[in-house]
């Protein structure tokens, strides 16, 4: 099996060239060169297999892909932070150009204008969606973007108590805890109201004190419910010097009043819904937007417009003195590589859809979700929370494990079991619809659900 030397496709040296180069260096062999450079003889043994040829690789991975049940055109009712939206063909074709894929961080702006302008446009689009003044050019994911927002809140007011609603994505809260442990930031989690599925207002307001650095909410929240950011925002502003951080879904923001209008200081979220395939959860990207007055405390790379020596418009990475390669241990973050390619995919997606197209995606998701809920309720199931929602809602299912197994047998990806993250919500399913949810998929789902009643 295998090709003796598949690797030679990528490593071009002929024996003669190697000899010429060794002669130039003044050594007789590569082993001798290593010995001189490292002071060590010999080489390790890895016990890896010999290389496969390209056809074998394609075959191996084709088979591995087949061992997964994919839902490109399938019936999927699962969300919880990763969403199945339509991806236009033009997006994949352009985004995968080698000029985008095989460039690195635009350290040399004169030969990186493509990257820089695309990211400048991306920043503009994120500002538009979130209602904020400045956006960076991407973070790893929604969760790490939130954790960085919490750390930025600490940098802004030097206070060490962070208030987070339990209606924020549980994995995001976990990541905030991880990021906070080194700096001694304390996390106070606020319960949700069992009737509405919104954050418990009283508990939230009572927990705010002079130590409070930031308040973190999600809108729509993890249960799909629309939190009353306006009401909370007012309270937070009354308190003064508390940073209001809102996690959001960028598609929802095309039809929802943006957090910026409700006094949010930092808006973050997972950008995957914007033109990125689900990818088993990664890579997507994190978006991060804030107010201009906080610009110098932001993490991540920022692209700005300027002019060249002849006065032509051009773009550069700017405010780099915040960053690790200059400021080292005093930097606003350690982030270096980010998720630029995923952010550019989002920019292409938004360019293809435009405001009207994106609104339609959001509207159709809302319509489909509400229709789905109706069908589920008609089948004799009860919704868990009674508040307005975007494209996700919780339903009490008697034996959710069994239901989901049964659904999977029919190639239907059922709802997320909220019991995975909230022990008290065992058996409550979080259903999701997008613009891709089809009527026949819903009927197939309902049939199985009815059979389980």
């Amino acid at each position: 099996m295998g090709d003796e030397q598949s690797y030679r496709s990528y490593i071009p040296h002929t024996d003669e060239e190697i000899k010429t180069m060794l002669d130039e260096i003044g050594v007789s062999s590569i082993d001798e060169l290593f010995e001189l450079a490292t002071g060590k003889k010999g080489t390790a043994i890895l016990k890896l297999d010999r290389g496969m040829n390209e056809w074998e690789i394609l075959k191996k991975f084709e088979k591995l892909a087949d061992e997964n049940m994919d839902f490109h055109f399938g019936a999927i009712f699962m969300g919880g932070g990763i969403y199945n939206h339509f991806i236009p063909s033009a997006l994949l074709e352009i985004a995968n150009r080698g000029e985008f894929l095989t460039a690195y961080t635009p350290y040399q702006p004169e030969i990186s204008q493509g990257t820089l302008q695309a990211l400048f446009e991306y920043q503009t689009m994120i500002c538009e969606l979130t209602g904020m003044e400045v956006s960076n050019s991407s973070m790893y994911d929604g969760a790490s973007a939130l954790a960085e927002a919490v750390l930025m809140g600490y940098r802004l007011n030097q206070k060490k108590k962070v208030i987070i609603s339990k209606t924020v994505h549980p994995e995001y809260r976990d990541v905030v805890k991880t990021y906070s442990q080194g700096l001694g930031i304390r996390i106070r989690e606020i319960n949700y109201d069992e009737g509405s599925g919104m954050v418990n207002f009283n508990e939230l307001f009572e927990s705010m004190d002079d130590e409070t650095s930031s308040v973190v909410l999600q809108y729509p929240n993890f249960f799909g419910v629309l939190e009353d950011i306006e009401r909370i925002g007012k309270k937070v502003k009354e308190k003064g010097n508390v940073i209001l951080i809102v996690v959001s879904n960028p598609i929802a923001l095309s039809i929802l009043e943006p957090p910026g209008s409700f006094g949010a200081d930092i808006v973050v979220g997972e950008g995957q819904p914007l033109g990125n395939t689900p990818n088993f959860g990664g890579p997507g990207f994190g978006f991060f937007a804030t107010r201009e007055k906080f610009l110098r405390k932001m993490p991540g790379r920022l692209i700005g417009e300027t002019v060249d020596t002849s006065g032509n418009t051009g773009y550069v990475m700017t405010f780099q003195t915040r960053e690790q390669h200059i400021r080292r241990e005093k930097a606003t973050s350690n982030i270096c590589s980010n998720h630029a390619h995923n952010a550019v995919m989002a920019a292409i997606y938004l360019s293809l859809l435009g405001s009207d197209g994106l609104r339609k995606v959001a509207e159709n998701s809302v319509i489909n979700a509400h229709y789905l809920l109706e069908r589920i309720e008609n089948a004799g199931y009860n919704r868990k929370f009674d508040s307005p929602f975007f494209n996700e809602f919780a339903v009490e299912c008697h034996n959710l494990d069994k239901l989901n197994r049964e659904l999977l047998k029919n190639r239907i990806l059922g709802p997320l079991d909220l019991g995975k993250f909230y022990p008290e919500l065992r058996g409550v399913g979080l259903f999701c619809a997008t613009e891709l949810t089809r009527s026949d998929d819903i009927e197939a789902l309902i049939e199985v659900m009815k059979g389980m009643k």
Binding site: S6, Y10, P12, H13, I30, A37, L48, R50, G51, E62, A65, D66, N68, D70, F71, H72, G74, M78, I82, A90, E99, F100, A103, Y104, Y107, Q108, E110, Q113, Q117, F120, T124, Y140, S144, D174, G182, L183, L226, P258, P278, G281, G282, P283, R301, T306, T313, V316, T318, E329, S333, N334, S337, N338, L350, G354, D356, N364, I367, N368, L408, L413
Partner: protein, 486 residues
């Protein structure tokens, strides 16, 4: 090539570039479903273009980018090697792209197998005992690794280890990541030969030191020949040794960080394992640890039991999650395909030919440019533009002039311990002709610096824009497009 107008300036009301699927359910007004107070009243200004206009816009932007597919990109410390096209095809299989992170494990056995196989192979490559694939980039891996170290000491009841030693030649991410973990950074001055100075190390090691962060070879491209001694000193002081894997390409397959005595390593899959850099990401920064640190890894890790792969959350001492879901899965797919394709022999060749290419360039370039630590190097080396200063020319001018000759400049002004640094990393995928052409261009530019320095100071002239005013970008910040100023 002139300026490409922004996508916003090209927008025309009434145009659209995509058809939005609809399920055909009866149309309902939004405010029947969502209370008015939530419905957006703020205008939303996204561009409106037809599909061909969008395609042309981004295609034209892409043409203003230099990339590995275009030419030689010897950006030191970044390992800009060729990115196999095979990996792009594989990574787009729907069985990888259209799977949801919360799908039942039995429906994603292929994905979990890939993660498991990659963990196993990275263990063999690095000599470490356990891996997490969760971190999304090198710096993210550093943060993860340093938190593991912090937790390890605290778990032993040792709370006084607040300091981390970091050489002055280190990547900026090292001190930044340590600081995010709450550590105090103590800088180690490099020795005369550019390597760790053992006396300096000894003088800074004490029972308050949690770890030494090191990259080997270091950022000068020089191998720490006394690494075993360094490891002993660090361990004897009760501290741990952290490996910044940014430079793994130099030793891939030939030397394992685990054998050198490192306790924690992070890798950069987008560098060493060639999963493209994508204009700055996504990458992946897996972290490997020795046995005694396993319990502190982020959850979940991928395990195998009774013929099935599963996500193991049972690490009670875990530092927690460092991101949502399972990490950058698609990047892992590409990295595994790369390892499988190269095989053991191919991976060794990566190190061997990258070191050969670097030394060949070093030797030839040393004939006309100063190389302050001119010793046998590993995969990269650092030259200095200091001697050009007398002609009124700086390293940045030389870098910009290289663009006019069709090359991406090397990393400049890093590492900080070399004045006017020019850090060159050719990688193994470049031909001798390419190296010769670059060397020739560099030689010409050095001559130009002496005979006609304005050629350098006015460079670049053959690029889509000339040198850009970075000071103005800060003084008059414009970080988004606004209609009213056009």
């Amino acid at each position: 090539m002139g300026r490409v107008r922004t996508v916003f300036e090209k927008s025309v009301d009434g145009r659209r570039g995509s058809s939005v699927p609809s399920s055909g359910f009866p149309k309902r007004d939004l405010d029947e479903m969502i209370p008015k107070k939530f419905i957006r009243s703020t205008p939303l200004n996204l561009p409106k273009l037809s599909e061909p206009e969008v395609v042309r816009h981004y295609t034209n932007l892409s043409r203003m980018n230099y990339s590995i597919d275009v030419g030689f990109y010897p950006l030191g410390s970044c390992t800009m090697k060729y990115n196999p096209k095979m990996n792009e095809i594989i990574s787009r299989f729907e069985g990888f792209t259209f799977i949801h992170p919360y799908q039942p494990e039995e429906s994603v056995q292929g994905a979990l197998r890939i993660m498991y196989e990659l963990q196993e192979k990275l263990k063999k490559i690095t000599g470490m005992d356990h891996f997490t694939l969760q971190p999304s980039a090198g710096a993210h891996g550093e943060f993860t690794g340093m938190l593991i170290i912090k937790k390890y000491h605290e778990d032993r009841g040792d709370f006084k280890r607040k300091k981390v030693l970091i050489p002055d030649s280190a990547h900026g991410t090292n001190p930044a990541s340590s600081a995010m973990c709450g550590f105090e950074v103590v800088e180690l001055k490099s020795g005369k030969d550019g390597r760790v100075d053992l006396a300096e190390l000894k003088s800074k090691l004490n029972d308050e030191v949690a770890a030494l962060m090191l990259t080997n070879p270091n950022t000068l491209g020089l191998y720490e020949k006394e690494i075993e001694k360094i490891a002993d000193l660090v361990h004897d002081a009760g501290a741990l040794l952290y490996y910044d894997g940014a430079n793994l390409n130099a030793i891939l397959g030939r030397i394992k960080p685990g054998d050198m005595g490192f306790d924690v390593v992070h890798l950069n899959l987008h560098k060493t394992f060639s999963t493209p850099h994508g204009m700055g990401g996504p990458g992946a920064g897996p972290v490997g640890v020795k046995e005694k640190l396993r319990d502190f890894l982020p959850v979940p890790i991928v395990d195998f039991k009774n013929g099935r792969f599963y996500l193991n959350y049972d690490l009670p001492k875990s530092i927690g999650r460092v991101r949502s879901f399972h990490g950058n899965f698609i990047v892992m797919v590409k990295a595994l395909a790369y390892v499988d394709f190269m095989g053991e022999e191919g991976l060794k060749k990566v190190a061997e030919l990258s070191v050969l290419n670097a030394n060949y360039m070093r030797k030839k370039i040393s004939e006309f440019l100063k190389i302050p630590y001119n010793d046998f190097c590993m995969h990269e080396f650092v030259a200095s533009g200091e001697e050009l200063k007398k002609y009124g020319v700086k390293t940045i001018d030389l870098a910009k002039r290289l663009m006019d000759y069709g090359f991406h400049p090397p990393t400049i002004y890093f590492p900080l311990i070399v004045h006017e640094a020019i850090m060159i990393e050719p990688t193994e995928t470049e031909t001798k002709e390419t190296l010769d052409n670059f060397i020739e261009a560099l030689k010409k530019i050095v001559e130009e610096a002496k005979s006609d320095p304005n050629l350098l100071k006015n460079a670049p002239t053959k690029t889509p824009v000339g040198r850009l005013d970075e000071v103005r970008a800060v003084r008059k910040p414009k970080l988004r497009w606004r209609g009213d100023d056009k």
